[in-house]
């Protein structure tokens, strides 16, 4: 178990190295800091002096890999590559590119807590709601309820999440005035602001998930152990709830595990539509403000969380299914 974990972590580290190299090449080799400065300052105001000043302020004026002007280990550490790429592994993200935004690390820590408040309920409720919906469809398989249920799923998954948001906001916040349109407050009042995004987020993915889970359960239902369970006279509800569900949970967890990184990273669209100051809206602001440092950091952080959450999913397997041995 421990050896497995260590091996996975080691492989994850090499993946992270790859991601880091990729982003470094993308951000500093394909385009030079000069180009970034030009775009960031923008318009006709660009002068060589301004670019130089911009670069000095952000530490982009240093040599790329090797600082000949420094002494000792500073030759290596006082470079763009060290400051902007290697130090990420120590979770030292440096400062953002734009004038107003400050230290990225502090901002990320603050916003991740907010993102979690939105994303964790969505993740858990999503798993429950989709599984229950799928169970109902499977229970009524071959009937009209199943047929129209799946048709509903297909229609629902053909509708962009943006539509759910705009229509839901209009209906629940503007017409019925049940919840505020958007915004966020700390503490318990947060629930008032979060309930609508959670609900809409559930709805927007219900079609895809429920249809998939239904298919996974139908796969299980044709197997021998289900026939055995029926043969010993168990009721359909118990067969489904106790036998089919437990076995279908393995593929279900795999597919749900894919969403785990987004639990920490937050949903870009939902956070920015509802003005929730989480990591998702941080990224959106960074993209519209063309803040390369933030985007770069988030790419790194995103893949770090992705790798960790996949290891978590694997651990969850061995808990759900005793046959799975991690070695």
């Amino acid at each position: 178990m421990l050896r497995y974990l260590l091996r996975r972590l080691a492989y994850g580290f090499t993946i992270l190295l790859g991601v880091n190299l990729l982003t470094f090449v993308l951000f500093f080799q394909v385009n030079t800091p000069d180009d970034m400065a030009r775009l960031n300052i923008g318009g006709k105001r660009v002068t060589p002096e301004l670019i130089a000043k911009w670069k000095v302020e952000r530490g982009y004026d240093k040599p790329m890999y090797w600082n000949q002007a420094r002494e000792g280990s500073d030759k290596l550490t006082q470079t763009i590559f060290w400051e902007r790429s290697v130090s990420l592994f120590a979770l030292d993200f440096g400062r953002a590119d734009s004038e107003s935004a400050g230290d990225i690390g502090a901002e990320v820590a603050k916003r991740m807590a907010v993102s979690l408040q939105l994303a964790l309920p969505v993740f858990l409720l999503q798993l429950i709601a989709s599984t229950v919906f799928a169970l109902v469809l499977v229970f009524f398989r071959g009937t009209r309820i199943d047929f129209w249920g799946v048709v509903l799923c297909v229609v629902m998954l053909s509708i962009s999440a943006l539509f759910y948001i705009v229509i839901g906001q209009y209906l629940f916040a503007r017409v019925l005035k049940l919840v505020p349109v958007s915004g966020y407050a700390g503490g318990l009042t947060a629930a008032k602001f979060l309930i609508l995004p959670v609900l809409l987020s559930l709805l927007s993915r219900l079609g895809t998930e429920a249809r998939l889970y239904r298919a996974m359960m139908l796969e299980e239902i044709g197997k021998d152990y289900v026939r055995t369970a029926r043969a010993k006279g168990l009721s359909e509800a118990i067969v489904l709830g106790r036998h089919v569900l437990r076995n279908a949970l393995i593929p279900i967890l795999t597919s749900a595990g894919g969403y785990l990184p987004y639990v920490f990273l937050g949903s870009l669209v939902f956070e920015s539509f509802f003005a929730i100051p989480g990591l998702g809206s941080y990224v959106i602001d960074a993209i519209s403000g063309q803040d390369f440092a933030i985007v770069r950091t988030m790419v790194f952080l995103g893949s770090l969380l992705y790798i960790l959450s996949y290891i978590l999913v694997d651990l969850a397997y061995s808990w759900v299914d005793p046959r799975v041995r991690l070695a």
């Binding site: 071959g142 297909v154 962009s160 209009y170 359909e236 539509f273 990224v283 988030m298 790419v299 893949s303």
Partner: protein, 496 residues
């Protein structure tokens, strides 16, 4: 004077894709097993209807992909034989929709309205009043709008519907020979009988469902053309542009992204997937490492990072485009390449697994024993047996990418703001839905068009998956006992 034809990057790709589709159709006709599978796709009524809808959108897209710049009338003092061209790039669709495209109002107006949506101060009989102004184009032919309006709407709409119905009926007659050639139940009987069978849906393929869909589209198009002759059918947006025109233009953007981006993933996915599965060992390790790195970055972030870099790149190289349209087009093109470069991991993983399985099969082992080279085996024996996975994946990606485009445009890393797209329309709609009184038509138009397109693509993809992959998960509903209906059968057994 000759207009100057402009081949945008995406135009070339779309026409290329069309040519490739035709070539594939030709290939399918000659391969019995492929034509059998495709017949299986269309045996499903939903897939048949979806094909008709997709074909309609495809025609709109192709019409919108013939671009040219009009020649300007000679200016005084211009040398003979010298022709200047307008800076505006138009497409054939723009010419067909010349009315709605050029009839720009001042600002918002409701669908089919003859007056503006917002009040302005106007002098009426010596007094300044806040009134709804008459529109410049919509309903401009009405002399006494309050009394004539409804009648005029009914007249134009009715005429359009009648024309649509006629087109639908003609379509049935035009499609009948095709249906008779393809369908055993319609062959060898009189025309009247074949027609009766087709309308009663007593044939091998669901021609009736397809025809009903096509006829409905004809009716809707007729209605839109009829009403569009005097009004803005779906109203105008805040700049006074026709919403229906924008929605139709957005279809092309969606199509371009859906087709190009899913095609762009193919070279990497196919080549690397098969290589990894065939050679195993360090090649496999390396390729696995590559796609794990790519797929471990959350997609939106990776795309955002790449798009930002492309923006810097385009900023640095203004010589790559001549007009604004070409710049916008280059951005879409780049976006599709990025989507392709970042999105090949899933298919690659799938193909690798399949190749690992295939390489152990007898016929591949036999080929190896005969001394056939690796490349030749991959080309002749592996590739044809994974093509169905590629096909299924491509059609599934299509709808996912259309949905993705809207999100990316919202995030700000999608298409150029000057390009019409569903994402852009939704973005505008977001502000309009918070106005009072509500401006709902732009958003609703985006909703209807996008859902129609994505739903059709999804239904088509489901049909393709079912027909080509017998082991695919059972994602579709089935009525009655039989497939997967063990419970009902069991209950019945008990009752007996």
């Amino acid at each position: 004077m000759m207009p100057k034809f402009v081949v945008l990057w995406t135009d070339a790709v779309l026409w290329g894709a069309w040519a490739a589709t035709l070539a594939y159709a030709w290939h399918v006709r000659r391969q019995p097993h492929l034509s059998a599978s495709w017949r299986k796709v269309w045996r499903d009524g939903a897939a048949m209807s979806a094909t008709v809808v997709l074909a309609f959108f495809m025609v709109v897209t192709l019409l919108d992909s013939l671009h040219f710049r009009r020649a300007l009338p000679p200016a005084p003092g211009q040398a003979a034989g010298q022709v200047f061209h307008a800076t505006r790039t138009e497409s054939l669709l723009d010419v067909l929709l010349a009315g709605p495209a050029s009839q720009q109002e001042a600002t918002y107006s409701r669908p089919l309205s003859y007056q503006g949506f917002t009040r302005v101060s106007e002098e009426v009989a010596g007094e300044v009043k806040r009134v709804h102004p008459r529109l410049t184009y919509g309903g401009a032919h009405l002399r006494d709008p309050e009394r004539q309006w409804l009648g005029d709407l009914a007249w134009r709409g009715g005429l359009g519907l009648a024309a649509g119905a006629l087109a639908g009926a003609l379509l049935l007659l035009a499609a009948l020979p095709l249906a008779r050639r393809q369908d055993a139940a319609l062959r060898g009987v009189t025309t009247a009988r074949a027609l009766r069978r087709l309308l009663a849906d007593r044939c091998e393929l669901p021609w009736r469902a397809g025809w009903i869909t096509a006829a409905l589209l004809c009716l809707l198009a007729g209605l839109a053309v009829g009403l569009g002759s005097g009004y803005h059918v779906l109203g105008t947006d805040n700049l006074g542009d026709d919403v229906l025109y924008q929605a139709l233009k957005s279809v092309r953007t969606a199509f371009v992204i859906g087709t190009m981006a899913s095609v762009a993933t193919l070279p990497f996915a196919i080549a690397l997937g098969i290589l990894a599965g065939w050679y195993r060992g360090w090649v496999d390790e390396l390729i696995q490492y590559l796609y794990t790195v790519l797929s471990s970055v959350p997609n939106v972030l990776l795309i955002a990072a790449c798009v930002l870099m492309v923006q810097v790149f385009l900023d640095k190289h203004p010589e790559l485009f001549e007009t604004g349209a070409e710049r916008a087009d280059l951005k879409i093109f780049m976006l599709c390449l990025i989507l392709g470069l970042t999105g090949w991991a899933g298919l690659c993983r799938l193909l690798r697994g399949e190749t690992l399985k295939l390489r152990e099969l007898d016929y591949v082992q036999a080929a190896t024993a005969f001394g056939v080279g690796s490349l030749r085996i991959m080309h002749r024996h592996i590739l044809p047996n994974v093509v169905h996975l590629v096909l299924i994946n491509t059609v599934l990606d299509f709808s996912a990418l259309i949905l993705y485009e809207a999100v990316l445009s919202y995030v700000g890393v999608g298409v150029d703001p000057s390009t019409n797209s569903f994402g852009g329309m939704i973005n505008m709609g977001r502000d309009e839905m918070s106005r009072d009184p509500l401006v709902w038509w732009s958003f609703s138009a985006a909703f209807v068009f996008m859902v129609a397109l994505v739903l059709a693509a999804n239904l088509f993809a489901d049909g393709v998956r079912d027909a080509f992959d017998p082991r695919a998960r059972n994602l579709r509903p089935r009525l009655g006992p039989g497939r997967g209906g063990a419970r009902r059968a069991g209950v019945k057994g008990e009752a007996a």
